[in-house]
Protein backbone atom coordinates (compact mmCIF):
# COMPACT_ATOMS: atom_id res chain seq x y z
CA UNK A 1 0.00 0.00 0.00
CA UNK A 2 1.23 3.46 -0.82
CA UNK A 3 1.41 6.33 1.60
CA UNK A 4 -1.06 9.09 0.85
CA UNK A 5 0.35 11.29 3.58
CA UNK A 6 3.92 10.96 4.75
CA UNK A 7 5.61 13.43 7.05
CA UNK A 8 9.18 13.18 8.24
CA UNK A 9 10.30 14.97 11.41
CA UNK A 10 7.61 17.57 10.77
CA UNK A 11 7.98 20.42 13.25
CA UNK A 12 6.56 23.86 13.75
CA UNK A 13 7.69 26.36 16.33
CA UNK A 14 5.69 29.32 17.63
CA UNK A 15 8.06 31.51 19.62
CA UNK A 16 9.93 29.09 21.84
CA UNK A 17 7.09 26.58 21.87
CA UNK A 18 7.13 23.59 19.54
CA UNK A 19 3.48 23.18 18.56
CA UNK A 20 4.43 20.18 16.44
CA UNK A 21 7.60 18.30 17.26
CA UNK A 22 9.30 15.77 14.95
CA UNK A 23 6.05 14.26 13.78
CA UNK A 24 6.26 11.23 11.53
CA UNK A 25 2.82 10.62 10.16
CA UNK A 26 1.89 7.97 7.66
CA UNK A 27 -1.56 7.63 6.17
CA UNK A 28 -2.07 4.76 3.76
CA UNK A 29 -4.42 4.58 0.83
CA UNK A 30 -8.01 3.65 1.61
CA UNK A 31 -7.73 4.26 5.32
CA UNK A 32 -9.81 6.37 7.61
CA UNK A 33 -6.97 7.75 9.67
CA UNK A 34 -8.05 9.12 13.02
CA UNK A 35 -5.79 11.89 14.23
CA UNK A 36 -6.40 11.98 17.92
CA UNK A 37 -5.24 14.48 20.50
CA UNK A 38 -6.45 16.83 23.17
CA UNK A 39 -7.25 20.41 22.25
CA UNK A 40 -3.98 22.23 21.69
CA UNK A 41 -2.03 19.02 21.06
CA UNK A 42 -0.98 20.20 17.60
CA UNK A 43 -3.62 18.59 15.39
CA UNK A 44 -4.73 21.73 13.60
CA UNK A 45 -1.16 23.03 13.23
CA UNK A 46 -0.21 19.72 11.60
CA UNK A 47 -3.20 19.83 9.28
CA UNK A 48 -2.47 23.44 8.32
CA UNK A 49 1.03 22.40 7.37
CA UNK A 50 -0.29 19.47 5.33
CA UNK A 51 -2.59 21.85 3.45
CA UNK A 52 0.25 24.30 2.83
CA UNK A 53 -1.48 27.02 4.84
CA UNK A 54 1.53 27.45 7.11
CA UNK A 55 5.16 26.51 6.59
CA UNK A 56 6.90 23.85 8.64
CA UNK A 57 9.83 25.08 10.70
CA UNK A 58 11.54 21.76 10.01
CA UNK A 59 10.77 18.50 8.33
CA UNK A 60 9.17 17.23 5.13
CA UNK A 61 5.67 16.56 3.92
CA UNK A 62 4.63 14.38 1.03
CA UNK A 63 1.04 14.21 -0.15
CA UNK A 64 0.31 11.55 -2.76
CA UNK A 65 4.03 11.41 -3.47
CA UNK A 66 4.48 15.16 -4.01
CA UNK A 67 6.45 17.37 -1.70
CA UNK A 68 4.38 20.10 -0.05
CA UNK A 69 4.51 23.08 -0.09
CA UNK A 70 7.03 22.97 -2.97
CA UNK A 71 4.81 21.01 -5.38
CA UNK A 72 1.46 21.92 -3.91
CA UNK A 73 0.13 23.10 -7.27
CA UNK A 74 0.57 19.56 -8.62
CA UNK A 75 -1.15 17.76 -5.80
CA UNK A 76 -3.78 20.03 -4.26
CA UNK A 77 -6.19 19.30 -7.09
CA UNK A 78 -6.49 15.80 -5.64
CA UNK A 79 -6.92 16.92 -2.03
CA UNK A 80 -10.07 18.16 -0.36
CA UNK A 81 -10.09 19.81 3.04
CA UNK A 82 -12.25 21.16 5.78
CA UNK A 83 -10.02 22.95 8.26
CA UNK A 84 -11.58 23.91 11.58
CA UNK A 85 -14.87 25.74 11.29
CA UNK A 86 -16.40 25.60 7.83
CA UNK A 87 -15.87 28.64 5.61
CA UNK A 88 -18.71 29.99 3.54
CA UNK A 89 -19.96 33.19 1.97
CA UNK A 90 -22.94 33.93 4.20
CA UNK A 91 -24.56 36.27 1.67
CA UNK A 92 -24.65 33.59 -1.02
CA UNK A 93 -26.72 30.44 -1.46
CA UNK A 94 -25.24 27.00 -0.90
CA UNK A 95 -25.23 26.55 -4.64
CA UNK A 96 -23.36 29.80 -5.28
CA UNK A 97 -20.83 28.87 -2.61
CA UNK A 98 -20.14 25.59 -4.37
CA UNK A 99 -20.25 27.28 -7.76
CA UNK A 100 -17.39 29.56 -6.71
CA UNK A 101 -15.22 26.61 -5.72
CA UNK A 102 -16.31 24.66 -8.81
CA UNK A 103 -15.34 27.60 -11.00
CA UNK A 104 -11.92 27.82 -9.39
CA UNK A 105 -11.42 24.07 -9.75
CA UNK A 106 -12.86 24.02 -13.27
CA UNK A 107 -15.51 21.45 -12.34
CA UNK A 108 -18.87 21.22 -14.17
CA UNK A 109 -22.24 22.02 -12.55
CA UNK A 110 -23.13 18.35 -12.74
CA UNK A 111 -20.52 17.67 -10.06
CA UNK A 112 -22.10 20.34 -7.82
CA UNK A 113 -25.38 18.44 -8.04
CA UNK A 114 -23.58 15.21 -7.20
CA UNK A 115 -21.84 16.51 -4.08
CA UNK A 116 -25.03 18.22 -2.89
CA UNK A 117 -26.65 14.80 -3.09
CA UNK A 118 -23.79 13.10 -1.24
CA UNK A 119 -24.15 15.47 1.71
CA UNK A 120 -27.94 15.65 1.38
CA UNK A 121 -28.22 19.39 0.79
CA UNK A 122 -30.02 19.31 -2.57
CA UNK A 123 -33.24 20.66 -1.10
CA UNK A 124 -31.48 23.57 0.61
CA UNK A 125 -29.12 24.50 -2.22
CA UNK A 126 -30.93 27.78 -2.94
CA UNK A 127 -31.02 28.91 0.68
CA UNK A 128 -28.44 31.43 1.85
CA UNK A 129 -25.54 29.73 3.60
CA UNK A 130 -25.81 32.30 6.39
CA UNK A 131 -29.18 30.78 7.28
CA UNK A 132 -27.85 27.22 7.40
CA UNK A 133 -27.64 25.37 10.69
CA UNK A 134 -24.17 24.47 11.89
CA UNK A 135 -24.64 20.91 10.69
CA UNK A 136 -25.66 22.08 7.23
CA UNK A 137 -22.65 24.40 7.03
CA UNK A 138 -20.42 21.52 7.98
CA UNK A 139 -21.97 19.43 5.23
CA UNK A 140 -21.61 22.31 2.78
CA UNK A 141 -17.92 22.38 3.71
CA UNK A 142 -17.61 18.68 3.01
CA UNK A 143 -19.48 19.05 -0.28
CA UNK A 144 -17.01 21.74 -1.23
CA UNK A 145 -14.09 19.51 -0.25
CA UNK A 146 -15.50 16.70 -2.42
CA UNK A 147 -15.96 18.83 -5.55
CA UNK A 148 -12.67 17.90 -7.18
CA UNK A 149 -13.12 14.16 -6.52
CA UNK A 150 -10.21 14.16 -4.11
CA UNK A 151 -8.09 11.09 -3.44
CA UNK A 152 -7.35 12.49 0.00
CA UNK A 153 -9.90 14.22 2.21
CA UNK A 154 -8.66 16.05 5.29
CA UNK A 155 -11.27 16.87 7.89
CA UNK A 156 -10.32 18.81 10.98
CA UNK A 157 -12.76 18.21 13.85
CA UNK A 158 -15.71 17.73 11.48
CA UNK A 159 -18.17 16.92 14.26
CA UNK A 160 -17.31 19.90 16.46
CA UNK A 161 -20.44 21.68 17.58
CA UNK A 162 -22.84 19.24 15.95
CA UNK A 163 -25.81 17.73 17.76
CA UNK A 164 -25.92 13.94 18.26
CA UNK A 165 -27.91 13.38 15.08
CA UNK A 166 -25.49 15.54 13.12
CA UNK A 167 -22.52 13.67 14.57
CA UNK A 168 -24.09 10.37 13.57
CA UNK A 169 -24.69 11.62 10.02
CA UNK A 170 -21.17 12.94 9.69
CA UNK A 171 -19.74 9.68 10.96
CA UNK A 172 -21.74 7.64 8.49
CA UNK A 173 -20.61 9.90 5.68
CA UNK A 174 -16.95 9.60 6.66
CA UNK A 175 -17.11 5.82 6.92
CA UNK A 176 -18.86 5.62 3.54
CA UNK A 177 -16.35 7.73 1.62
CA UNK A 178 -13.44 5.26 1.42
CA UNK A 179 -15.79 2.41 0.67
CA UNK A 180 -17.90 4.02 -2.03
CA UNK A 181 -15.58 6.61 -3.50
CA UNK A 182 -12.13 5.22 -2.76
CA UNK A 183 -11.18 8.32 -0.82
CA UNK A 184 -8.55 8.19 1.89
CA UNK A 185 -9.74 10.19 4.87
CA UNK A 186 -7.65 11.92 7.50
CA UNK A 187 -9.95 13.01 10.29
CA UNK A 188 -8.93 14.73 13.50
CA UNK A 189 -10.78 14.72 16.77
CA UNK A 190 -10.23 15.19 20.46
CA UNK A 191 -12.84 12.53 21.17
CA UNK A 192 -11.58 9.01 21.28
CA UNK A 193 -15.01 7.43 21.05
CA UNK A 194 -15.52 9.21 17.78
CA UNK A 195 -12.25 8.05 16.27
CA UNK A 196 -13.02 4.59 17.59
CA UNK A 197 -16.21 4.45 15.55
CA UNK A 198 -14.77 5.76 12.29
CA UNK A 199 -11.09 5.08 12.01
CA UNK A 200 -9.21 2.07 10.76
CA UNK A 201 -5.88 3.60 11.74
CA UNK A 202 -5.03 6.04 14.42
CA UNK A 203 -2.33 8.53 15.28
CA UNK A 204 -2.21 9.88 18.80
CA UNK A 205 -0.60 13.29 19.18
CA UNK A 206 0.23 14.92 22.50
CA UNK A 207 2.22 18.11 23.04
CA UNK A 208 3.13 18.01 19.37
CA UNK A 209 4.59 14.51 19.48
CA UNK A 210 3.24 11.32 18.00
CA UNK A 211 2.71 8.89 20.88
CA UNK A 212 1.24 6.07 18.89
CA UNK A 213 0.53 5.32 15.27
CA UNK A 214 -0.93 2.20 13.77
CA UNK A 215 -4.10 0.18 13.29
CA UNK A 216 -6.68 0.97 15.92
CA UNK A 217 -6.84 -2.70 16.90
CA UNK A 218 -3.17 -2.57 17.77
CA UNK A 219 -3.87 0.29 20.14
CA UNK A 220 -6.51 -1.83 21.83
CA UNK A 221 -4.19 -4.83 22.06
CA UNK A 222 -1.50 -2.71 23.59
CA UNK A 223 -3.08 -2.93 26.97
CA UNK A 224 -4.31 -6.44 27.58
CA UNK A 225 -7.14 -7.36 29.88
CA UNK A 226 -6.47 -8.58 33.41
CA UNK A 227 -8.32 -10.39 36.18
CA UNK A 228 -8.43 -8.90 39.65
CA UNK A 229 -9.51 -10.74 42.78
CA UNK A 230 -10.75 -8.82 45.81
CA UNK A 231 -9.92 -10.54 49.10
CA UNK A 232 -10.00 -9.76 52.84
CA UNK A 233 -6.23 -10.23 53.47
CA UNK A 234 -4.27 -9.33 50.32
CA UNK A 235 -0.78 -9.99 51.77
CA UNK A 236 -1.60 -13.50 52.90
CA UNK A 237 -3.52 -14.12 49.72
CA UNK A 238 -0.46 -13.27 47.64
CA UNK A 239 1.64 -15.74 49.63
CA UNK A 240 -1.04 -18.35 49.21
CA UNK A 241 -1.10 -17.83 45.44
CA UNK A 242 2.69 -17.84 45.24
CA UNK A 243 2.62 -21.14 47.05
CA UNK A 244 0.22 -22.49 44.44
CA UNK A 245 2.56 -21.25 41.69
CA UNK A 246 0.32 -18.42 40.44
CA UNK A 247 1.77 -14.97 39.67
CA UNK A 248 -0.22 -12.09 41.17
CA UNK A 249 0.47 -8.46 41.86
CA UNK A 250 -1.13 -6.71 44.84
CA UNK A 251 -3.21 -3.73 43.91
CA UNK A 252 -4.83 -2.08 46.95
CA UNK A 253 -7.31 -4.53 48.44
CA UNK A 254 -7.10 -6.73 45.39
CA UNK A 255 -4.68 -8.97 43.54
CA UNK A 256 -4.19 -8.74 39.83
CA UNK A 257 -3.48 -11.93 37.98
CA UNK A 258 -1.07 -11.91 35.10
CA UNK A 259 -3.23 -14.25 33.05
CA UNK A 260 -6.82 -13.90 31.88
CA UNK A 261 -7.11 -17.64 31.30
CA UNK A 262 -10.34 -18.79 33.05
CA UNK A 263 -8.55 -21.93 34.30
CA UNK A 264 -5.92 -19.80 36.01
CA UNK A 265 -8.60 -17.73 37.70
CA UNK A 266 -10.39 -20.86 38.89
CA UNK A 267 -7.13 -22.31 40.23
CA UNK A 268 -6.40 -19.05 42.06
CA UNK A 269 -9.83 -19.00 43.69
CA UNK A 270 -9.49 -22.64 44.70
CA UNK A 271 -6.10 -21.96 46.31
CA UNK A 272 -7.43 -18.95 48.20
CA UNK A 273 -10.51 -20.77 49.46
CA UNK A 274 -8.38 -23.70 50.58
CA UNK A 275 -6.23 -21.30 52.61
CA UNK A 276 -9.36 -19.87 54.22
CA UNK A 277 -9.09 -16.45 52.61
CA UNK A 278 -12.38 -14.73 51.86
CA UNK A 279 -12.85 -13.99 48.16
CA UNK A 280 -15.17 -11.03 47.71
CA UNK A 281 -15.14 -10.57 44.01
CA UNK A 282 -13.43 -11.79 40.84
CA UNK A 283 -13.61 -9.45 37.91
CA UNK A 284 -12.10 -9.10 34.52
CA UNK A 285 -10.77 -5.63 33.88
CA UNK A 286 -10.66 -4.54 30.24
CA UNK A 287 -9.10 -1.11 29.68
CA UNK A 288 -11.17 1.12 27.48
CA UNK A 289 -9.49 3.12 24.73
CA UNK A 290 -9.98 6.05 27.07
CA UNK A 291 -7.75 4.35 29.65
CA UNK A 292 -5.16 3.60 26.99
CA UNK A 293 -5.22 7.16 25.77
CA UNK A 294 -4.88 8.52 29.30
CA UNK A 295 -2.06 6.10 30.03
CA UNK A 296 -0.28 7.17 26.84
CA UNK A 297 -0.65 10.87 27.50
CA UNK A 298 -0.03 10.84 31.25
CA UNK A 299 3.19 8.91 30.67
CA UNK A 300 4.44 11.84 28.61
CA UNK A 301 3.29 14.44 31.11
CA UNK A 302 5.18 12.67 33.90
CA UNK A 303 8.33 12.51 31.79
Amino acid sequence: MTAVVQTTALSRRYGTQWAVDSLDMQVREGEVYGFLGLNGAGKTTTIRMLMGLIRPTLGHIELLGHEVPRDRMKVMGAVGSLVESPSYYAHLSGWDNLKIMATLLDVPDERIREVLKVVDLTADAEKKAGQYSLGMRQRLGIASALLNRPRLLVLDEPTNGLDPAGIQEMRNLIVRLPREHGITVLVSSHLLSEIDQMATSVGVIHHGRMLFQGPIDELRHRSSASVSIKVDRPAEAQLSLAHAGIDAVPDGGALTLASVDPQAAAAAVRALVNDDIAVYRVEEHKPTLEDIFLALTSGVDAA
Binding site: R48, M51, G52, R55, M73, M76, V83, I100, T103, L105
Partner: protein, 242 residues
Protein backbone atom coordinates in the same frame (compact mmCIF):
# COMPACT_ATOMS: atom_id res chain seq x y z
CA UNK B 1 -7.21 34.23 -14.49
CA UNK B 2 -10.65 34.08 -16.09
CA UNK B 3 -11.72 31.43 -13.58
CA UNK B 4 -10.65 33.66 -10.70
CA UNK B 5 -12.55 36.59 -12.17
CA UNK B 6 -15.75 34.65 -12.70
CA UNK B 7 -15.49 33.36 -9.14
CA UNK B 8 -15.17 36.98 -7.99
CA UNK B 9 -18.24 37.87 -9.98
CA UNK B 10 -20.30 35.30 -8.08
CA UNK B 11 -18.88 36.50 -4.76
CA UNK B 12 -19.90 40.06 -5.59
CA UNK B 13 -23.56 39.08 -5.96
CA UNK B 14 -25.80 40.70 -3.37
CA UNK B 15 -22.99 43.04 -2.33
CA UNK B 16 -22.38 46.75 -2.80
CA UNK B 17 -19.35 46.25 -5.07
CA UNK B 18 -21.06 46.93 -8.39
CA UNK B 19 -23.75 49.33 -7.09
CA UNK B 20 -21.05 51.44 -5.46
CA UNK B 21 -19.02 51.53 -8.66
CA UNK B 22 -22.05 52.98 -10.43
CA UNK B 23 -23.38 55.17 -7.62
CA UNK B 24 -20.08 57.06 -7.32
CA UNK B 25 -19.88 58.51 -10.82
CA UNK B 26 -23.68 58.72 -11.03
CA UNK B 27 -23.74 60.83 -7.88
CA UNK B 28 -21.05 63.15 -9.18
CA UNK B 29 -22.89 63.49 -12.48
CA UNK B 30 -26.15 64.19 -10.69
CA UNK B 31 -24.48 66.93 -8.66
CA UNK B 32 -23.13 68.38 -11.89
CA UNK B 33 -26.57 68.32 -13.46
CA UNK B 34 -27.95 70.07 -10.40
CA UNK B 35 -25.26 72.76 -10.47
CA UNK B 36 -25.81 73.39 -14.18
CA UNK B 37 -29.61 73.31 -13.85
CA UNK B 38 -29.63 75.81 -11.00
CA UNK B 39 -26.87 78.17 -12.10
CA UNK B 40 -26.88 78.01 -15.90
CA UNK B 41 -28.95 81.07 -16.52
CA UNK B 42 -27.57 83.43 -13.94
CA UNK B 43 -23.89 82.55 -14.10
CA UNK B 44 -22.56 79.46 -15.89
CA UNK B 45 -23.76 80.40 -19.38
CA UNK B 46 -21.88 83.66 -19.26
CA UNK B 47 -18.81 82.12 -17.61
CA UNK B 48 -18.70 79.37 -20.25
CA UNK B 49 -18.83 82.00 -23.00
CA UNK B 50 -16.00 84.01 -21.52
CA UNK B 51 -13.63 81.30 -20.14
CA UNK B 52 -14.64 78.39 -22.33
CA UNK B 53 -17.08 75.61 -21.52
CA UNK B 54 -14.32 73.11 -20.71
CA UNK B 55 -12.70 75.38 -18.11
CA UNK B 56 -15.99 75.97 -16.35
CA UNK B 57 -17.13 72.33 -16.45
CA UNK B 58 -13.77 71.01 -15.26
CA UNK B 59 -13.49 73.70 -12.59
CA UNK B 60 -16.83 72.68 -11.19
CA UNK B 61 -16.63 68.93 -11.55
CA UNK B 62 -13.15 67.39 -11.71
CA UNK B 63 -12.20 67.96 -8.12
CA UNK B 64 -15.33 66.18 -7.00
CA UNK B 65 -14.71 63.42 -9.52
CA UNK B 66 -11.23 62.83 -8.11
CA UNK B 67 -12.52 62.81 -4.54
CA UNK B 68 -15.23 60.30 -5.36
CA UNK B 69 -12.64 58.13 -7.07
CA UNK B 70 -10.33 58.21 -4.04
CA UNK B 71 -13.18 57.15 -1.79
CA UNK B 72 -14.13 54.45 -4.29
CA UNK B 73 -10.56 53.10 -4.34
CA UNK B 74 -10.64 52.76 -0.56
CA UNK B 75 -14.06 51.16 -0.31
CA UNK B 76 -13.80 48.83 -3.29
CA UNK B 77 -10.35 47.53 -2.30
CA UNK B 78 -11.69 46.85 1.16
CA UNK B 79 -14.83 45.07 -0.05
CA UNK B 80 -13.06 42.87 -2.55
CA UNK B 81 -10.67 41.53 0.09
CA UNK B 82 -13.02 41.64 3.05
CA UNK B 83 -15.42 39.15 1.48
CA UNK B 84 -12.76 36.47 1.95
CA UNK B 85 -11.71 37.69 5.40
CA UNK B 86 -15.22 37.68 6.75
CA UNK B 87 -16.07 34.26 5.37
CA UNK B 88 -12.72 32.83 6.52
CA UNK B 89 -12.30 31.54 2.99
CA UNK B 90 -8.55 32.07 2.71
CA UNK B 91 -7.89 28.70 4.26
CA UNK B 92 -10.05 27.07 1.60
CA UNK B 93 -8.76 29.18 -1.29
CA UNK B 94 -5.12 28.68 -0.32
CA UNK B 95 -5.58 24.91 -0.21
CA UNK B 96 -6.63 24.94 -3.88
CA UNK B 97 -4.12 24.41 -6.67
CA UNK B 98 -4.06 28.13 -7.41
CA UNK B 99 -1.20 30.58 -7.31
CA UNK B 100 -1.60 32.78 -4.27
CA UNK B 101 0.16 35.68 -5.95
CA UNK B 102 -2.28 35.09 -8.81
CA UNK B 103 -5.25 35.37 -6.46
CA UNK B 104 -3.86 38.65 -5.13
CA UNK B 105 -3.03 40.16 -8.51
CA UNK B 106 -6.41 39.15 -9.85
CA UNK B 107 -8.15 40.92 -6.97
CA UNK B 108 -5.97 43.96 -7.59
CA UNK B 109 -6.89 43.86 -11.28
CA UNK B 110 -10.55 43.56 -10.36
CA UNK B 111 -10.45 46.74 -8.25
CA UNK B 112 -8.44 48.52 -10.95
CA UNK B 113 -11.06 47.40 -13.48
CA UNK B 114 -13.92 48.64 -11.33
CA UNK B 115 -12.17 51.99 -10.93
CA UNK B 116 -11.77 52.16 -14.72
CA UNK B 117 -15.47 51.44 -15.10
CA UNK B 118 -16.28 54.18 -12.59
CA UNK B 119 -13.94 56.60 -14.40
CA UNK B 120 -15.58 55.79 -17.74
CA UNK B 121 -19.00 56.36 -16.23
CA UNK B 122 -17.80 59.64 -14.72
CA UNK B 123 -16.54 60.81 -18.10
CA UNK B 124 -19.80 59.68 -19.70
CA UNK B 125 -21.57 61.85 -17.13
CA UNK B 126 -19.41 64.83 -18.11
CA UNK B 127 -20.22 64.17 -21.76
CA UNK B 128 -23.91 64.07 -20.82
CA UNK B 129 -23.68 67.50 -19.17
CA UNK B 130 -21.65 68.81 -22.13
CA UNK B 131 -24.29 67.67 -24.59
CA UNK B 132 -27.22 68.57 -22.36
CA UNK B 133 -26.24 72.20 -22.15
CA UNK B 134 -25.12 72.34 -25.80
CA UNK B 135 -21.53 73.33 -25.20
CA UNK B 136 -20.52 72.53 -28.75
CA UNK B 137 -18.33 69.82 -30.30
CA UNK B 138 -17.12 67.26 -27.80
CA UNK B 139 -13.47 67.79 -26.75
CA UNK B 140 -12.54 64.13 -27.24
CA UNK B 141 -8.82 64.59 -26.71
CA UNK B 142 -9.34 66.34 -23.39
CA UNK B 143 -11.93 63.79 -22.26
CA UNK B 144 -9.55 60.99 -23.20
CA UNK B 145 -6.75 62.64 -21.26
CA UNK B 146 -9.02 63.05 -18.25
CA UNK B 147 -10.09 59.43 -18.33
CA UNK B 148 -6.64 57.99 -18.89
CA UNK B 149 -4.76 60.16 -16.41
CA UNK B 150 -7.41 59.88 -13.74
CA UNK B 151 -7.36 56.09 -13.93
CA UNK B 152 -3.61 55.66 -14.11
CA UNK B 153 -3.12 58.09 -11.22
CA UNK B 154 -5.41 55.94 -9.07
CA UNK B 155 -3.53 52.69 -9.70
CA UNK B 156 -0.81 53.15 -7.03
CA UNK B 157 -3.47 53.94 -4.46
CA UNK B 158 -5.43 50.85 -5.45
CA UNK B 159 -2.20 48.91 -4.86
CA UNK B 160 -1.65 50.49 -1.43
CA UNK B 161 -5.24 50.03 -0.32
CA UNK B 162 -5.35 46.46 -1.65
CA UNK B 163 -2.20 45.59 0.27
CA UNK B 164 -3.65 47.03 3.48
CA UNK B 165 -7.03 45.39 3.02
CA UNK B 166 -5.43 42.05 2.20
CA UNK B 167 -2.95 41.95 5.04
CA UNK B 168 -4.90 43.54 7.86
CA UNK B 169 -8.06 41.66 8.53
CA UNK B 170 -9.72 44.54 10.36
CA UNK B 171 -10.92 46.75 7.52
CA UNK B 172 -11.20 49.75 9.84
CA UNK B 173 -7.43 50.10 9.39
CA UNK B 174 -7.39 50.25 5.60
CA UNK B 175 -10.45 52.48 5.46
CA UNK B 176 -8.96 54.87 8.02
CA UNK B 177 -5.75 55.03 6.01
CA UNK B 178 -7.78 55.53 2.84
CA UNK B 179 -9.79 58.39 4.29
CA UNK B 180 -6.70 59.98 5.81
CA UNK B 181 -5.18 59.60 2.35
CA UNK B 182 -7.99 61.65 0.86
CA UNK B 183 -7.22 64.48 3.27
CA UNK B 184 -3.53 64.19 2.43
CA UNK B 185 -4.44 64.20 -1.25
CA UNK B 186 -6.31 67.48 -0.81
CA UNK B 187 -3.31 69.03 0.90
CA UNK B 188 -0.93 67.71 -1.74
CA UNK B 189 -2.93 69.02 -4.68
CA UNK B 190 0.01 71.27 -5.48
CA UNK B 191 2.67 68.88 -4.18
CA UNK B 192 5.19 66.86 -6.14
CA UNK B 193 4.09 64.35 -8.80
CA UNK B 194 5.84 61.34 -7.34
CA UNK B 195 3.73 61.09 -4.17
CA UNK B 196 0.94 58.56 -4.81
CA UNK B 197 -1.63 60.60 -2.88
CA UNK B 198 -0.86 63.70 -4.91
CA UNK B 199 -1.33 61.96 -8.25
CA UNK B 200 -5.13 62.02 -8.70
CA UNK B 201 -5.30 65.76 -8.01
CA UNK B 202 -2.35 66.34 -10.33
CA UNK B 203 -4.08 64.27 -12.98
CA UNK B 204 -7.35 66.19 -12.95
CA UNK B 205 -5.50 69.49 -12.70
CA UNK B 206 -3.62 68.64 -15.90
CA UNK B 207 -6.81 67.53 -17.63
CA UNK B 208 -8.38 70.82 -16.59
CA UNK B 209 -5.64 73.28 -17.39
CA UNK B 210 -3.04 71.49 -19.47
CA UNK B 211 -0.45 72.54 -16.89
CA UNK B 212 1.73 69.83 -15.36
CA UNK B 213 3.93 66.90 -16.26
CA UNK B 214 1.69 64.07 -17.44
CA UNK B 215 4.54 61.89 -18.66
CA UNK B 216 6.30 61.96 -15.29
CA UNK B 217 2.98 61.39 -13.58
CA UNK B 218 2.24 58.28 -15.63
CA UNK B 219 5.79 56.99 -15.23
CA UNK B 220 5.74 57.43 -11.46
CA UNK B 221 2.26 55.96 -11.19
CA UNK B 222 3.17 52.83 -13.15
CA UNK B 223 6.44 52.39 -11.26
CA UNK B 224 4.76 52.67 -7.86
CA UNK B 225 1.99 50.35 -8.98
CA UNK B 226 4.41 47.67 -10.11
CA UNK B 227 6.38 47.98 -6.89
CA UNK B 228 3.39 47.94 -4.52
CA UNK B 229 1.64 45.11 -6.32
CA UNK B 230 4.82 43.02 -6.39
CA UNK B 231 5.48 43.55 -2.69
CA UNK B 232 1.83 42.99 -1.79
CA UNK B 233 1.58 39.80 -3.83
CA UNK B 234 4.87 38.40 -2.50
CA UNK B 235 3.86 39.05 1.10
CA UNK B 236 0.41 37.61 0.44
CA UNK B 237 1.88 34.41 -0.99
CA UNK B 238 4.15 33.91 2.00
CA UNK B 239 1.53 34.63 4.61
CA UNK B 240 0.48 32.10 7.25
CA UNK B 241 -3.23 31.45 7.06
CA UNK B 242 -5.16 31.32 10.29
Amino acid sequence: MMRLLSAERIKARHTWVLPLTIIGPAGVTLLGVLVYALRWNDYLREASRQQGAWTVLSGNMFFLLALAMLLGVTLLSSMVFDVDHRSEMWKQLFALPLSRAGIYIQKYALVAGLILLAAVLGVVGMIGIWLGWRMGALPWARLGTLLGLMWVSALPLVAIQSALSAHIRNQAVSITVGVAGIIVALMLASGPEWIPWAMPMKAVAYAQTGIGHPVQLVAFALAWTAAFVAVGAAAFARRDVR
